[in-house]
């Protein structure tokens, strides 16, 4: 009879499935960063002067900053002069329709299962795909435009809707916010933009698919979503990258603006290449995600993080308006040598603001998983409420789970609750399942999925199924 250890070993050797490289000619700027590079990026993108100035302001500020050292992660020093800050699939002319997109690129997305072609219209998901640094295709644009919804690449928005960009860019994550966000502000090359007008309920899930392809390329995308008064939008984000021995840098910024009574639901399934079992390669994922809620608005972040060598992100909500609601549901999984320092910040400024945080950390192999959360209730935020639940699950005895909750309450009418638990998938649980005829892998999957249930039920249906499968694959063979 094979031991569990043996079965698990075999399963653990499952390869990263999305690790292929697409051979496409790229138009890249030289490695390194200086004012000329920043100007060159802006020029390539044919940006108006205010954008160039904004980037330069960010770049100059970045020079005065140092890398944050407080996260509970370890990695060799990054040489920021050794990164290519702009790489785009070479396009011979302006793309008019999907037919003109390089077929090689379309095949890549097909492999990834992104429904880029309009024939997959039944999927009901509008997709903006970002390949390396530029957005290559946005589907369903016309249909969305009928309702006044703008969903396009960031570059296009800069050209077509400069007034919205200048009004909202940096309004939630200012250019000076933090080391990586400031770097992003200087060099971001593309991303997605979405505006949902007053009172409109966006009829379909909007989705962005990010892919880092070129070697030594950093991906610095920027997403800006604005839900005008009373609007609703649900947004999905998925990510993959080829397997490379070098670490690749990903420093994105996502800004969400929910005006009075608006609702934004932002879901992420992040599956960047995590590196191999010895910790070689993988994506450094240093991301700043933040949303701002005006009166009675609501922002929900739901994330399933299974990839990246290092994850450093804290999707946050500024509860500016009275009666606004912020939510954060997260599953973060670390296996092999992966490290994650993730959590959220809920800043209660308005009265009667509410926030809910449900964080599920799963550590396997030698993975290190840290939850870091800040609940800040300001003086005028009377009757604010927060509920935080933070659970960790350990598989094996070489991994770690850490929790750093920070709670600041500055008035007496508010209430913050924090619950935390750490558990191990026990031999008893596994034996119980096996005694009922359930195989080891199915038992582990079942226990993990049970553990993550509260988060999965927040995900849109098709995403939830994908997330469950992804967890299964990422965890195979981690019990022993």
């Amino acid at each position: 009879m094979p031991t569990d250890e043996g079965t698990i070993e075999t399963l653990a050797n499952q390869e990263y499935k999305w690790g292929f490289v697409t051979d496409i000619e790229a138009d890249a700027l030289p490695k390194g960063l200086n004012e000329d590079i920043v100007r060159a990026i802006s020029k390539r993108k044919n940006e108006p002067e205010f954008m160039t100035q904004w980037r330069l302001k960010a770049y100059r500020h970045w020079l005065t900053m140092t890398e944050p050292k407080w996260p509970n992660v370890k990695y060799p020093k990054i040489d920021f002069q050794d990164v290519i800050y702009y790489s785009a699939p070479k396009a011979k002319k302006q793309l008019k329709s999907l037919d003109e997109v390089d077929p090689e690129l379309l095949r890549t997305y097909e492999k990834l299962g992104v429904p880029l072609e309009e024939q997959k219209i039944f999927a009901g998901v509008a997709v903006d795909a970002v390949f390396d640094s530029v957005s290559v295709a946005t589907t369903f644009k016309a249909k969305l435009a009928e309702m006044g919804v703008i969903f396009c690449s960031f570059s296009e928005a800069v050209q077509e809707h400069p007034e919205l960009i200048s009004k909202y860019l940096g309004s939630v994550v200012p250019y000076s916010d933090n080391f990586y966000a400031t770097l992003n502000s200087a060099v971001f090359s593309d991303g997605s933009f979405c505006y949902v007008p007053k009172g409109v309920r966006c009829p379909m899930e909007l989705s962005t698919y990010f892919r880092i392809n070129a070697k030594n390329t950093g991906q610095f995308e920027r997403t800006l979503i604005i839900a005008d008064e009373g609007a609703y939008v649900s947004y999905l984000e998925g990510c993959t990258a080829p397997m490379r021995d070098e670490n690749q840098l990903h420093a994105a910024v996502v800004e969400l603006v929910a005006l009075k009574g608006a609702q934004i639901k932002y879901s992420t399934v992040q599956n960047w290449y995590p590196g191999d079992k010895e910790g070689k390669g993988g994506i450094y994922n240093f991301v700043t995600k933040r949303g701002k809620c005006m009166d009675s608005a609501r922002i929900s972040w739901t994330q399933v993080e299974t990839g990246s060598a290092i994850t450093w992100k804290y999707p946050s909500v500024i509860l500016q308006g009275d009666n606004s609601i912020g939510e954060f549901y997260s599953v973060a999984l670390t296996n092999h040598m992966q490290q994650a320092d993730t959590g959220t910040k809920m800043i209660h400024i308005g009265k009667n603001t509410r926030s809910t945080v449900v964080s599920k950390g799963i550590s396997a192999g030698k993975g290190q998983n840290t939850y870091r959360g800040l609940i800040k209730i300001l003086k005028n935020a009377t009757n604010a409420r927060n509920y935080t639940q933070c659970d960790s699950l350990l598989l094996g005895d070489k991994c770690g789970a850490h929790t750093f909750p920070y709670i600041e309450v500055r008035n007496t009418s508010s209430k913050a609750e924090h619950e935390a638990s750490t558990s191990k998938i026990g031999e008893d649980q596994l034996f119980y399942c096996k005694q009922r005829g359930i195989s080891l892998e199915d038992a582990v999957n079942m226990i993990i999925n049970g553990f993550c249930k509260e988060v999965f039920r927040e995900l849109p249906m098709e995403f939830a199924v994908e997330a469950q499968k992804l967890l299964g694959v990422s965890l195979e063979g981690s019990v022993g």
Binding site: P2, G426, F431, K434, R436, G437, M446, I447, E454
Partner: protein, 251 residues
């Protein structure tokens, strides 16, 4: 043919011998009770038969329905029709009882080359069995054993036995932690599951359970060996005299 044939079975945990040569033959339709003082090896015997990895079999053989039981993994044993009602059923948060049981039913069906049951058929089958154990409807949607009382947990075990329909069921100290009402419900459930095709091994410290589940044979385990076997009247004698007279005999 005997359903279960245990021959000179020896087992150890952490290098310490616990079972020191067990011989036991169980035929289909029979109910056997294993009794014995604490530390005699009763639970070890159940665990070894179910295939728990913490125990090492150091000698002997077990034939189950003609197959070498010790050569099968725990899940294969389950699929072949061996069921154990746990003394301490574990909790699995977030996994509903119906999801768990459906996974178990379908794993076993798959093993026998049968089609998986769909949700409707499964629910229909399960509802019939729930009536048997007087279980509440909400029970299926609760997480496996989470927040269950001791009685509910044990009822859940017998309910699972009813659903999985095993050839051979081991009830490991099923009476522990039960009040008399819960004990009766559990025993009624077990009795309803007695059949000419099924064998049941009741492992218990007290005679009390055997008032309700009346065994065909009673065996007394002392220090890793069966020191006395007899009919149901042996249990009553043990109730009166205790185990001490047999322990001296064993030594």
């Amino acid at each position: 043919m005997a359903l279960v044939e245990i021959k000179n079975l020896e087992a150890a945990v952490g290098g310490k011998p616990i079972l020191k040569g067990i011989d036991l033959t169980i035929n289909p339709g029979e109910v056997h009770a294993i009794m014995g003082p604490n530390g005699s090896g009763k639970s070890t015997l159940s665990s070894v038969l179910a295939g728990r990895e913490t125990y090492t079999v150091t000698g002997g053989s077990v034939l189950f329905d003609g197959k070498d039981l010790l050569d099968l993994s725990p899940e294969e044993r389950a699929c072949e029709g061996l069921f154990m009602a746990f003394q301490y059923p574990v909790e699995i948060p977030g996994v509903t009882t119906s999801y768990f049981l459906k996974a178990a039913v379908n794993a076993i069906r798959k093993h026998h080359g049968q089609d998986e049951l769909d949700a409707m058929d499964f629910l229909k089958m399960v509802k019939e069995k729930m009536a048997l154990l007087e279980m509440d409807k909400t029970f299926l949607n609760r997480s496996v054993n989470e927040g269950f009382s001791g009685g509910e947990k044990k009822r859940n075990e017998i309910f699972q036995m009813a659903v999985l329909n095993p050839k051979f069921a081991i009830l490991d100290e099923t009476d522990s932690g039960l009040d008399i009402d819960a004990l009766k419900i559990v025993a009624n459930g077990v009795n309803a599951l007695r059949s000419p095709e099924r064998a049941i091994l009741v492992v218990t410290h007290y005679q009390r359970l055997l008032d309700y589940i009346v065994p065909d044979f009673v065996h007394v385990l002392c220090d890793g060996r069966i020191v006395k076997s007899g009919g149901k009247e042996l249990a009553l004698e043990l109730e009166k005299r205790g185990y001490a007279w047999l322990e001296t005999a064993a030594a």
